[in-house]
């Protein structure tokens, strides 16, 4: 029996095209945004561009072509932001989970509560560029979260370089799709302003011909486009500026909100603003770690444990949490052997 990995992928995600595309389970707003972009683009070509070419001058064709290119970019960036794996970290299997728990350091807060035999440690400290950073143990994913990673409550998985979960694109925004998200914001802003300026031009020219009130009546599509674009620009402009600032300082929204670096310097920071932008937008493309289209191996099925090196007694609460996490991750599978 061979099964693709996306079928057994734990967490709240939807997969499409046999695992090629993925999103979170709430995609209604995302679909609305796509429809809004397509409708506006269609109205723009059907009415404004036709008006300009027919009644003003055939030389205005490049304006329509720019609009076409812009619409293509906006849609591609939006689809990419919404349908790629944002950088989920696959959950650790039983064998690795045991090993991981042995890596943590004893936490004075939990040992003081008096569990016999010691509790699994919740933290592990690593040094990054000489700075001590605490990695937290994720009970759902059975591992110490890598630096900058965070567990997304909506997707129920840890994500690398977690920025935020964006309902507009219906996906987490993180390491792998941050650039698409940012480019979407910027291109949306530019295209919104572009469409609005063409709308104004059309209105001015049309009102010269037939008067302002008649122009409004004759070209209602232009008015609709103007309002949709205006709303989009208002919604997106502030966000685009905010993310521009974040990229310049190499921070994520998550770190900015939680004010992670209030006491220490950002250890991940590259010093040159231009370089920060280049890395974020044109840097290397990290691969998807969850191998959605790969096939499930037998070993993963049964969670076979070849003797963990550091079996640490778990407290009952966490153990039951882990068990539920494990059973949910192995839902369609055969009986999982508990090797503790």
């Amino acid at each position: 029996m061979t099964q693709r990995k996306w079928r057994v992928f734990p967490g709240n995600n939807r997969f499409y095209c046999n695992g090629l595309l993925m999103s979170s389970t709430q995609v209604a707003v995302f679909l609305f945004v796509i429809v809004a972009v397509i409708v506006t683009a269609c109205l723009f070509f059907a009415f404004d561009c036709r008006f300009l070419i027919q009644y003003v001058h055939p030389g205005t064709i490049p304006l329509a072509l720019i609009g076409l290119l812009g619409a293509f970019y906006v849609l591609m960036f939006l689809l990419k932001a919404g349908c790629t794996d944002p950088g989920f970290i696959p959950r650790a299997r039983q064998d690795e989970a045991h090993y991981n728990q042995g890596l943590g350091e004893p936490d004075p807060n939990t040992t003081s509560t008096g569990y016999v035999g010691g509790t699994p440690s919740k933290y592990r400290t690593v040094e990054i560029h000489g700075q001590q950073i605490k990695l937290k143990y994720c009970v759902t994913c059975n591992m110490f979260r890598p630096p900058r990673a965070s567990h997304c409550g909506l997707c129920n998985n840890c994500v690398e370089n977690f920025d935020h979960h964006c309902p507009w694109v219906g996906n987490c925004v993180a390491k792998r799709n941050y650039r698409y998200f940012y480019l979407f914001l910027v291109s949306m802003c530019i295209m919104g302003l572009y469409v609005m300026s063409i709308n104004i031009t059309v209105m001015v020219l049309a009102s010269r011909m037939v008067g302002f009130v008649n122009a409004l009546k004759t070209y209602p599509a232009t008015v609709i486009e103007f309002f949709i674009s205006g709303f989009a620009v208002i919604a997106v402009f502030g966000l685009a500026c905010y993310h521009t600032q974040l990229i310049a300082t190499m921070k994520t929204t998550n770190e900015e909100i939680k004010n992670t670096f209030r006491t220490s310097q950002n250890p991940y920071r590259q010093h040159n603003v231009l370089k920060n932008f280049c890395i974020t937008i044109c840097g290397p493309f990290p691969p998807s770690l969850i191998d959605r289209r790969g096939f499930v191996k037998d070993e993963e099925h049964h969670g076979v444990d070849y003797g963990a090196t550091n079996p640490i007694m778990m407290d009952p609460e966490q153990r039951s949490m882990q068990d539920t996490a494990d059973t949910s991750s192995q839902l369609p599978l055969t009986t999982s052997t508990d090797n503790n």
Binding site: H129, P267, Y268
Partner: protein
């Protein structure tokens, strides 16, 4: 007295975050491998893997150019070509396989592909003879 048969153990080589979030694995020699393979061979392997990933994540004009080109095509180019990073992860997997075949396997050590574990760690399977 009956001798226990061969048994195996898994260890996981962790990431080394001292240079930031770039993919790097710790080349600290695990005690479990003592007596199985040489420290130098182990470190060579990890260093080479680190070099491959360093190259995958390197920032240079060529990478920026590729990034810009991909962006200009609306990322449709990724349907046709593998990214540099993907090629590098494949190279790392091939390299590990080679090392397994030539050196590790005969000592009962088997190194896994870090991509199998989400680049979090490298799985190493060690088989001990029962009488050891």
């Amino acid at each position: 007295m009956e001798r226990s048969g061969p048994f195996s153990k898994k260890i996981f080589i962790q990431r080394d975050y001292s240079y930031g979030t770039a993919v790097r694995f710790s080349s600290e020699f695990p005690q479990e491998l003592r007596g199985k393979i040489g420290e130098r061979e182990f470190q060579e392997t990890i260093d080479e893997i680190n070099v491959i990933f360093e190259e995958a994540e390197a920032y240079n004009c060529q990478r920026y150019g590729e990034g810009c080109l991909a962006c200009l095509t609306g990322y449709t180019i990724h349907f046709c070509f593998k990214t540099h990073y993907q090629k590098c992860t494949e190279r790392a997997a091939r390299y590990i396989q080679e090392r397994n075949y030539h050196i590790f396997e005969r000592h009962g050590v088997l190194m896994g592909d870090p991509m199998d574990r989400g680049l979090r760690c490298i799985e190493v399977n060690i088989t001990y003879d029962g009488d050891q």
